[in-house]
C-alpha cells in the first residue's frame, strides 16, 4: 500500500502547508480569498485521497463539503462582501512579510519536530499528516495575529480549521460524527462572522479591527 499512495498523500498534505505560506504574503484581499479557495481545494483533494487510501467512503463526504462549501461558496460570498464594502483592494499587515515568513518557517519546523518525535509508533501516513496539520494550524494562527482586517482574520481562522480537518482525516477511523461537526461548526462560525461583519460595518463604516480597539471599556 505504501509507495505511491503514501507519496500522493504526502504531496497533498505538503502542498497544503505550501498554500498556507502563499496566504501569508498575499497583500490584497481578493488574492487572499483566491488563495484560500486553493487552500480548500487542496484540502478536498487530500481528504479524498485519504478516503481512497483508507478505504473509508464516508471521508468522501468530508471532501465534498470542503470542496463545495469552503472552496466555492465561502470565497464567492466573501468576494461579494468585500466588493460591496469597497475594501477589495486593501490589506494591512502588522508585521512585515519577511518577518512573517521567517516566523512561519520556524512554526513549521517546530510542528514537525514535536509531532514526529511523539508519534514513532503510529502509522507513517497518519504521522506525517499530523505534523503537516499542526503546521497548517499554526500558520493559520500566525495569520490571525499578523492581520488587522476582520476579513483576513476570518480567512486565517478558516485555514486553521482546514488544518484541523486534515488532522481528523489523518487519524484512521475517526468517527464521522466529528467530521460532520467540524464542517458544521465552520458553517456556524461563518454565520456568526457574517452577522458580525454586518454589524461592524453598520456601526463603524469599516471592517478594520483597529477601529474597534479605540472603544476599550476601561480606558475611556
Amino acid at each position: 500500500m505504501h509507495g505511491l499512495t503514501f507519496d500522493v498523500a504526502h504531496m497533498l498534505a505538503g502542498s497544503l502547508v505550501l498554500v498556507s505560506f502563499l496566504q501569508l504574503y498575499q497583500d490584497r484581499l481578493t488574492s487572499l480569498l483566491n488563495v484560500f479557495a486553493l487552500h480548500a481545494l487542496v484540502l478536498a483533494l487530500s481528504v479524498a485521497w485519504q478516503a481512497f487510501a483508507q478505504g473509508a467512503p464516508h471521508l468522501y463526504i468530508t471532501a465534498l463539503i470542503a470542496l463545495a462549501f469552503k472552496a466555492i461558496a465561502i470565497p464567492l460570498v466573501l468576494h461579494r462582501m468585500i466588493v460591496r464594502l469597497g475594501i477589495h483592494r486593501e490589506i494591512e499587515t502588522v508585521v512585515g512579510v519577511g518577518t512573517t515568513m521567517l516566523a512561519g518557517i520556524a512554526l513549521v519546523a517546530l510542528s514537525i519536530m514535536v509531532m514526529l518525535r511523539v508519534t514513532p509508533g503510529a502509522d507513517p501516513l497518519a504521522r506525517e499528516d499530523l505534523a503537516f496539520a499542526l503546521a497548517v494550524i499554526l500558520l493559520g494562527l500566525l495569520m490571525m495575529v499578523t492581520r488587522r482586517n476582520a476579513v483576513s482574520q476570518v480567512v486565517g481562522f478558516m485555514s486553521l480549521e482546514n488544518g484541523l480537518v486534515l488532522a481528523a482525516t489523518g487519524a484512521k477511523g475517526m468517527p464521522l460524527v466529528v467530521e460532520i461537526s467540524v464542517a458544521f461548526s465552520i458553517l456556524i462560525a461563518f454565520i456568526v462572522i457574517g452577522i458580525f461583519l454586518f454589524r461592524i460595518r453598520e456601526r463603524f463604516d469599516t471592517v478594520d479591527v483597529r477601529a474597534l480597539d479605540k472603544f476599550r471599556g476601561d480606558q475611556r
Binding site: T119, I137, F157, V192, F196
Partner: protein
C-alpha cells in the same frame, strides 16, 4: 433510546429553546424560561435517586453530577433574575422585543450546550457542546450592539475559536493515542472506555495532547495569559449572561480539563499534569489580583475576580490529593453561587444608577439598603472572610498547599490578600460614604441573590455530611 432523567436534562432546554424562538411576547417567554430551567433542575435532582448505566453517548457519574446540579440550579436562579432584569431593559429601550425573543431562545440553547458538555460520554461530543456554548455566548455578549459590546464579542469570538480549535487538535491527538489500544471508531472517543484502558496509551502523544487541551480549554476557563476576552465579555453583555459566564461556563471548561487530567493520571508514563495547572493557576491568581486595583467598571472588576478564583481552583486541582481536590471542588461551587449572586446585585445596581462606572455610584447601603448590603455580603463572601463558605474552601486550599509545597503557598496567600485589599477598597466607596448618582427605588427581585448568599452562608457554617461524603468521593476519584 428510552426517555429518562439523563435525556431530560438536555431535551428540556432544547425543546424550550425551539419554543421560545417562536414566542413573540417577552413576558410569557421570560416565565417560560424560568419554568424550563426549573424542570431541568428537577430532572438533574431526580438523578440523585439513582443514576442509569453509562450509555454510549451520555454518562452521569459522581464527578459530573456535581457540575450538572450546580449548572441547572444557577441556570434556574439566573433565569428568575433575568426576568426582572429584562423588564428594565425593555423600559429603557436598550433591548427590543425581537432581541428578547432571540435572547431567551439563546439562553436555553446555552443551557442545553452546557448540560450536554457535562453529560457527554464522548470527548468529541463534549467538544462540540463546548463550541456551541461558546458561539451562543458570543451572540449574547454582542446583543446590545454598542461599540464596546461588538468589540467584546469579536475579541471573545476570535480568542474563543482559537482556544476551541486547539482543544479539537488535542482531542484528535487523544483519539490517535487511544486508537491502537481501544480500536477504531466511536469506542476510541468514549470516555468510559478511554479511562479504563488509559494505561496502555502512548504517553508521549498524551502529553502533547494535554498541552493543547490545557491551552484550548484553558482559554475558556479564563486562565492568564489567555484571559483577554473575559473582562470585556463580562462587562459588555447583559448581566444575566455575565452571571452565567462566570458561574457556569468557566466551570464547564474546567470540567473538560479535569476529565483529561484524569486520563493522564491513569497513565503511569504520562507527565504529571498537576505542575502545569499549578503554574497557570498561580499566574492567573496573582495577575488578576493586581489587575483588580485599576478597575473603574464594576462588572469588569468582578470579571477579574472570576479570573482570580478560577486561578485558585485550577491551582487546587493542580496540587491534587484528596484534601486539595475537595477544597477545589467546594471552592468552585461556592464561587459559582457567590459570583452569580454578586452579578445579580450588580445588574440591579447598574440599572438603578444608569452606569457601570464605580466612580458614579456610592453610598448604596443608604439609598438602596437591600442591594447595598447584598453587595457587601457578596464581596465579604468572595474575598473569603469567615464565616462564609469561601473562607472554608480557601482555608483548606492554603493549608493543603502549606502541607504539600510550602513555598507555593506564599504567592497564593499574597494573591488572596492583594485581591482582598482591592475589593474591600472598592466596596468601601460603592457601598458606604456619600450617596452618588440617582437614588430611585429599584424594581428588583431579591430572591435569587439572597438564596445564593444564604446557601453560601450555610455552607460556611454547616456542610451536610452526605454532601461532604459525596465531595470526598469525587476528590478521591480525581486523585
Amino acid at each position: 433510546m428510552t426517555f429518562d432523567a439523563v435525556t431530560a436534562v438536555i431535551v428540556i432546554p432544547a425543546a424550550a429553546a425551539a419554543l421560545l424562538a417562536f414566542l413573540p411576547a417577552y413576558r410569557i417567554s421570560a416565565r417560560l424560561n424560568v419554568v424550563a430551567s426549573l424542570m431541568t433542575f428537577f430532572a438533574a435532582l431526580s438523578l440523585l435517586g439513582g443514576r442509569p448505566e453509562a450509555g454510549r453517548y451520555l454518562l452521569v457519574d459522581d464527578l459530573n453530577h456535581v457540575f450538572i446540579i450546580l449548572t441547572t440550579f444557577v441556570g434556574l436562579t439566573t433565569s428568575a433574575f433575568s426576568a426582572s432584569y429584562i423588564e428594565h431593559e425593555i423600559e429603557t429601550g436598550r433591548l427590543t422585543p425581537t432581541y428578547l425573543r432571540f435572547y431567551h431562545a439563546m439562553y436555553q440553547v446555552l443551557m442545553f450546550a452546557m448540560n450536554l458538555a457535562l453529560i457527554a460520554n464522548n470527548i468529541g461530543l463534549m467538544w462540540v457542546a463546548i463550541e456551541l456554548a461558546t458561539l451562543t455566548t458570543v451572540l449574547m455578549v454582542g446583543i446590545y450592539r454598542t461599540h464596546e459590546a461588538l468589540e467584546a464579542a469579536w475579541k471573545y469570538f476570535i480568542l474563543g475559536s482559537v482556544g476551541i480549535a486547539l482543544a479539537l487538535f488535542g482531542t484528535i491527538l487523544v483519539y490517535m493515542a487511544a486508537q491502537p489500544v481501544v480500536g477504531e471508531g466511536l469506542d476510541a472517543m468514549t470516555w468510559t472506555l478511554l479511562i479504563e484502558r488509559a494505561a496502555g496509551f502512548d504517553a508521549a502523544l498524551l502529553n502533547v495532547a494535554f498541552v493543547f487541551l490545557l491551552l484550548g480549554y484553558g482559554t475558556k476557563v479564563g486562565l492568564a495569559p489567555l484571559h483577554a476576552w473575559l473582562p470585556d465579555a463580562h462587562a459588555e453583555g447583559p448581566t444575566p449572561i455575565s452571571a452565567v459566564l462566570s458561574g457556569l461556563l468557566l466551570n464547564v471548561a474546567l470540567y473538560a480539563l479535569l476529565r483529561f487530567k484524569l486520563l493522564l493520571a491513569a497513565n503511569p508514563n504520562a507527565l504529571a499534569p498537576g505542575s502545569l495547572m499549578v503554574i497557570l493557576g498561580l499566574v492567573s491568581l496573582v495577575f488578576a489580583a493586581f489587575m483588580l486595583y485599576r478597575r473603574r467598571d464594576i462588572k469588569r472588576m468582578f470579571a477579574y475576580s472570576s479570573i482570580e478564583h478560577m486561578g485558585i481552583i485550577v491551582f487546587a486541582f493542580g496540587i491534587g490529593g484528596p484534601l486539595a481536590n475537595f477544597a477545589g471542588l467546594l471552592h468552585m461551587t461556592m464561587h459559582s453561587l457567590t459570583k452569580s449572586a454578586i452579578f445579580f446585585t450588580v445588574g440591579h445596581i447598574a440599572q438603578v444608577k444608569g452606569t457601570q462606572k464605580i466612580a458614579e455610584m456610592g453610598g448604596l447601603t443608604v439609598t438602596h439598603p437591600v442591594l447595598g448590603w447584598g453587595l457587601v455580603l457578596g464581596v465579604v463572601a468572595i474575598v473569603g472572610l469567615p464565616p462564609l463558605g469561601m473562607f472554608m474552601s480557601e482555608f483548606l486550599i492554603v493549608s493543603s498547599a502549606f502541607a504539600r509545597e510550602p513555598w507555593l503557598a506564599l504567592p497564593l496567600v499574597l494573591g488572596l490578600l492583594v485581591a482582598l485589599g482591592a475589593l474591600v477598597l472598592r466596596l468601601n466607596s460603592i457601598a458606604f460614604g456619600e450617596p452618588v448618582g440617582p437614588s430611585d427605588p429599584a424594581k428588583a427581585s431579591y430572591l435569587p441573590m439572597y438564596a445564593h448568599l444564604a446557601l453560601v452562608f450555610m455552607a460556611g457554617v454547616y456542610l451536610p455530611p452526605p454532601l461532604v461524603a459525596w465531595f470526598q468521593n469525587v476528590a478521591k476519584l480525581l486523585g
